[in-house]
């Protein structure tokens, strides 16, 4: 596994180029171009603000303003969601590369995760701006890189796993959509962790994303971070996940060019 990480490091230029290609290609031909990376989260944020301020006044719960709380979770969630779903199809959509060029296939899911991370980080300034505006931001926000790193590791492992598996079982792609959807509701993104009964909370704790989301919310929204243990455990779990993902990917690698 160490060897594989070294390999990935060797491909850093390739990864970097492909990520920037991905970003360039995505907004190519649109008038706003790269600005969409900012406009998209902004519009989303405004929609939530509108809905939850004027339409659905959620009186319950301590998270106010709720739309801002929601956004703190939605932004990283979008990264996770898009990365995993895109990763499941990335080997097929780049089949030409794998079949016709000597190309390190593992680079592709890595690029997917990274490209979506860039989108995420482009949304961050918008989020931070509104957090400041609402007086929510404290020095704790300096810890923000921690959950980002953990989320990256966790997402990467999953992306490696599903990308290779989908080549052999195309239906992983369809199943995945539903799994991720379910996962969304099983993670404290739109609700506040801690406001459920004990059993439910214990159940939620088995979800790695609970700890990641909770960390984001504590760091950015609540301004007080004490979820060290949960986040550290998730980090370890994420590393194990990367090891498993890399292992599965490696086992299936030789058949990729034939099955894609």
């Amino acid at each position: 596994m160490i060897a594989q990480l070294v390999q990935l490091f060797r491909y850093r230029l390739l990864i970097q180029t492909l990520v920037s290609r991905e970003l360039k290609a995505r907004y190519r031909g649109s008038v706003l171009g790269f600005l969409w990376s900012f406009v998209n989260p902004l519009l989303m944020l405004l929609t939530y603000a509108l809905v939850f301020t004027y339409v659905m006044r959620t009186g319950k719960g301590s998270a106010t303003p709720y739309w801002l709380f929601l956004f703190v979770g939605i932004l990283p969630w979008t990264w996770f969601n898009a990365a995993v779903v895109e990763a499941s199809g990335v080997l097929m959509s780049s089949g030409g590369l794998i079949k016709k060029v000597l190309f390190p296939a593992e680079v592709l899911p890595v690029v997917t995760v990274m490209a979506n991370m860039v989108h995420f980080s482009l949304g961050l300034p918008i989020l931070l701006f509104f957090l400041i505006l609402q007086g929510k931001l404290t020095l704790t926000a300096l810890l923000l890189p921690l959950p980002i790193i953990v989320q990256f590791i966790f997402t990467l492992g999953l992306a490696l796993f599903v990308s290779a598996l989908t080549v052999h079982f195309r239906d992983v792609q369809d199943i995945l959509n539903h799994v991720v959807h379910l996962w969304f509701w099983a993670s404290p993104v739109i609700y506040v962790y801690g406001e459920q009964n004990v059993q439910l909370r214990i159940a939620l704790r088995f979800n790695p994303l609970t700890h990641i989301m909770l960390s984001y919310q504590q760091i950015l929204f609540w301004g007080k971070f004490d979820h060290w243990r949960g986040l550290a455990l998730t980090a370890i779990l994420g590393l194990i996940g990367v090891a498993i993902g890399a292992f599965v990917f490696d086992r299936l690698r030789d058949t990729l060019a034939e099955e894609v």
Partner: protein, 452 residues
């Protein structure tokens, strides 16, 4: 440059697994439910694409691979490129590889040619600086100066491939793998590609060329490998291997022609010809008509050993042999033959009447032979008419285009007829004559089948 060979292939076998046909429709869920995941992953049958291939390519050698479709050439190339792994055996390539398997495979249609060149270069192993250094040269070579900032999706397929080729050759590989991609763009550009490959040769790079163009293989390669059904059929000196291959192909075509055309009239004679009554036999089927008093029962094309063949080379003797049978004795009869190109142009026609033979009597079975001492035709497929008719043209049995044969030649001259000719040059014209070599020897069939 090290003394190690550039490419070492040792007893390499590649077996593709073929899954049962439901494979595509099988779902993970069903696999899990029935617990058949593992058994489903076991291949139903296997397909051996390459078997027991061993060879070495020294540095600086241009190595060609020829063979029919499906003979494992491309698999071999993919193995060398590292795209697929051998099932068994050892593969070793020393030095940086650039594979021209599909040109522009990594291009993204939405972004500009400029950015694609950069990305493609990096994919092929260049550093960013190297890409920048070579950028102008690449664009120059691809002749795309005016279009380099347009998205690649707006390129014509020729432009696309030109850019792909340009990037691939500017990677400056030690070993260049080429798969039949030289049919790139127009005449001028494909010549440029060939020049570039020639330049690689001069600079002592190793080239591995998979091609259908025997002319190219013979011109460019130092050594040629002939693959047949995934195995090595022959390898070594290009001329010898290519001749061997052509002989084999001709033999195969011979068999094919025999199946498709050769026995056509025979079948008609035995099955389809309506034998109405003993006395007034009347023949009329497509491509065959006549009164039926004389019947052409068998037509054979023979070579100079009187063996039946359907593929000939220019300069050979070709004998048309007719076996006829006359039901009653007749005195007015003419035998004729006619040669046509596949698109119906008459090449030559003659008969015994034109040549002033006087017919005396024909009864019972008879054999008629017309020997063409030297069949001076250019390469192509030819149709043969044979007929027995009366002097006034009333047919007894006329076979139109029921037989065909093929002329194969290494010289790709055009037209129909190859008059015997000789070139000579005087004054300021200096040309180097080709090395004298015989046309193919089609008698080597036994040799070819022995080696297989």
């Amino acid at each position: 440059m090290s003394s190690d060979p550039a490419v070492v292939v040792k007893d390499v076998t590649k077996i593709y697994r073929r899954f049962q046909h439901q494979h595509q429709f099988r779902t993970l869920k069903s696999a899990l439910l029935t617990g058949s995941l593992l058994s489903d992953l076991r291949p139903e049958e296997t397909f051996t694409a390459v078997e027991g291939v061993s060879f070495e390519v020294p540095h600086g050698v241009t190595y060609g691979v020829i063979g029919e479709n499906g003979s494992g050439k491309s698999t071999l190339l993919k193995l060398l490129a590292g795209i697929t792994k051998p099932t068994r055996g050892l593969l070793q390539v020393n030095g940086r590889i650039s594979a021209l398997i599909e040109l522009g495979a990594g291009f993204h249609p939405e972004i500009s040619g400029r950015e694609n060149v950069a990305i493609n270069g990096i994919m092929l192993g260049l550093s960013r600086r190297q890409v920048n250094e070579r950028f102008e040269e690449i664009v120059e070579f691809a002749e795309l100066k005016d279009f380099i900032d347009a998205p690649v999706k707006t390129y014509s397929s020729g432009m696309y491939m030109r850019l792909g080729f340009a990037v691939a050759v500017h990677v400056d590989p030690d070993v260049l793998l080429i798969d039949e991609v030289l049919a790139v763009g127009d005449e001028a550009f494909s010549r440029k590609c060939l020049d570039k490959i020639g330049e690689f040769r001069r600079r002592g790079k190793t080239i591995f060329l998979v091609t259908h163009s025997l002319g190219l293989a013979e011109k460019m390669c130092d050594e040629v490998l002939w693959m047949r059904h995934g195995k090595m059929a022959d390898s070594g000196d290009p001329k010898r291997v290519i001749d061997h291959y052509l002989t084999y192909v001709a033999g195969g075509e011979d068999a094919m022609f025999a199946r498709e055309h050769g026995q056509g009239a025979d079948g008609a004679a035995e099955g389809e010809v309506p034998h109405t009554t003993e006395t007034t036999r009347h023949i009329y089927t497509e491509g065959r008509w006549g009164g039926g008093e004389v019947e052409i029962q068998k037509v054979r094309l023979l070579d100079d050993r009187d063996e039946e063949r359907h593929v000939f080379v220019p300069g050979e003797r070709l004998t048309v042999e007719l076996e006829v049978e006359a039901t009653k004795g007749i005195t007015d009869f003419v035998f004729g033959i006619g040669l046509f190109t596949a698109d119906g142009v008459s090449v030559y026609g003659t008969n015994t009447h034109i040549e002033d033979f006087a017919s005396r009597r024909l009864q019972g079975p008879a054999t008629i032979r017309c020997e063409i001492e030297n069949i001076r035709l250019v390469e192509g497929t030819y149709l043969l008419d044979v007929a027995v008719h009366q002097r006034d043209g009333t047919p007894y049995d006329y076979h139109r285009g029921l037989y065909s044969f093929r002329i194969k030649s290494r010289i790709k001259d055009v037209g129909v007829y190859r008059p015997e000719h000789r070139w000579s040059f005087a004054g300021g014209a200096r040309l180097i004559a080709p090395e004298p070599r015989p046309e193919l020897d089609l008698h080597d069939d036994e040799l070819a089948s022995e080696r297989g």
